[in-house]
Symmetry: C2
Subunit: 244 residues, 2 copies
């Protein structure tokens, strides 16, 4: 039985630089944590402190990047191709690609907006689950509370308009809640019901983080989702994927 949920923006985190102790900045800015809190941190914040920023001045576009770029900067497409395991769909300059992690998303997660300058792009973390685990460890060390952590990003969806935030990296919580074989209040068995709770938590956090406000983290309080899920749990296994 879940009670009320609170979604609390963590304000006052300064502009981030490579090497910053992000967990310490989150702990300083937050008004304390409670048992079972889930701390959601925007991928872009993580990528900046991990140095996953590329200056396009250092990039030479290949022929393929130029083809996919359309009227846009082909160096950006070159970076996207470097982050991609496979291009799933392309309509220049729009590319939907599978990333090195297995995520299928626009531009392989390479993002220009809110970057460190007009000619820089921000890449996804190399290992978002490892990032989430490190943040969880360090927040626990500094605050004494074993929070859950989600590293979130905004993904588009097939067939639906607009982005929703999803969980790239997860630590200390269940990512997919499996209700297979459990019975609902009417006594009927729920078949193969899997709820992507980590994605719903990431989406809830986005509602207070916003794109314009510069709030890179939030707390979701009141859930009971402790567990050992990973962001990779949320990736559809290739053999079950009807859309590739």
């Amino acid at each position: 039985m879940t009670g009320e949920l609170r979604v609390i923006p963590i304000r006052g985190i300064p502009e981030l630089e490579e090497g910053d102790d992000l967990a310490a900045l989150v702990v300083d800015a937050a008004q304390g944590f409670e048992h079972e809190d889930v701390v959601v941190v925007a991928q872009k914040a993580v990528s900046k402190v991990e140095g996953r920023v590329v200056d396009l001045a250092d990039v030479v576009a290949s022929k393929r990047a130029r083809e996919l770029a359309g009227d846009s900067d082909p160096r950006r497409l070159e970076v996207i191709l470097g982050e991609s395991r496979e291009v799933v769909r392309a309509r220049p300059p729009l590319v939907i690609a599978e990333t090195r992690h297995g995520f299928v998303c626009a531009s392989a997660g390479v993002d220009a907006s809110n970057a460190k300058g007009p000619d820089t792009v921000v890449l996804l973390p190399l290992d978002p689950d490892a990032t989430a685990a490190r943040l969880r460890g360090r927040i626990g060390e500094l605050s004494g509370v074993a929070v859950g952590v989600i590293v979130s990003d905004s993904f588009g969806r097939a067939w639906r308009l607009g982005t929703t935030d999803v969980a790239l990296g997860v630590a200390g919580i269940t990512a997919v809640l499996d209700l297979d074989g459990q019975r609902d209040v009417a006594g009927y068995e729920l078949h193969a019901t899997q709820i992507a709770v980590a994605d719903e938590i990431a989406g809830a956090a986005q509602l207070v983080m916003g794109k314009l406000d510069g709030v890179p983290a939030a707390i979701v309080r009141g859930l009971r989702v402790s567990g050992d899920g990973r962001g990779s749990d949320l990736v559809m296994p290739r053999e079950r994927d009807l859309f590739r």
Copy 2:
């Protein structure tokens, strides 16, 4: 600037029957509403009061339904085909279809679990935006507060595992927040950033509604998303759809 968000389950709504005044039951069960509240109501609750329930005993399966059914009940597939404008993917007995409304989802939204009996299925509302508008009107009439309303359902996603709740019907709020041309805190223009806020709100509500708890409605409080969006705003226009 968004402050803290609260997500409040509305408990104590009785088992629903066709013709019930759902808005009145929601108003009775809720502890009052505040200006800018968004009330999220599960599709299944709406469908039950609107009589969108089919007894499979009344259904005769066609040849195509039998082909798509695999080892499952072909009458269920017959109902799914009746709700479908187009079958997008099929791997018997799994069917991803475009519904009469334009939603692309598993089983054209036809659902068996938590239904009124083992041989009944629940269909999507005929017009979820009209349902949301009616609920909004009636809740306003009874409570004096002009809340926003979302009719939500659990959808799977291409490439990602598990369902997240999304908004089928919307009234009184913005469905897709368009940040195109706005500037973020660093002063860079955000290009073509559209956030599916109504879907994120539906997902946040799901976290307190659950599948097992029998809580068919929730309040999301603390947002400022008043507007005149519709659930249909969240459907990717066919000409922009890369995945059909």
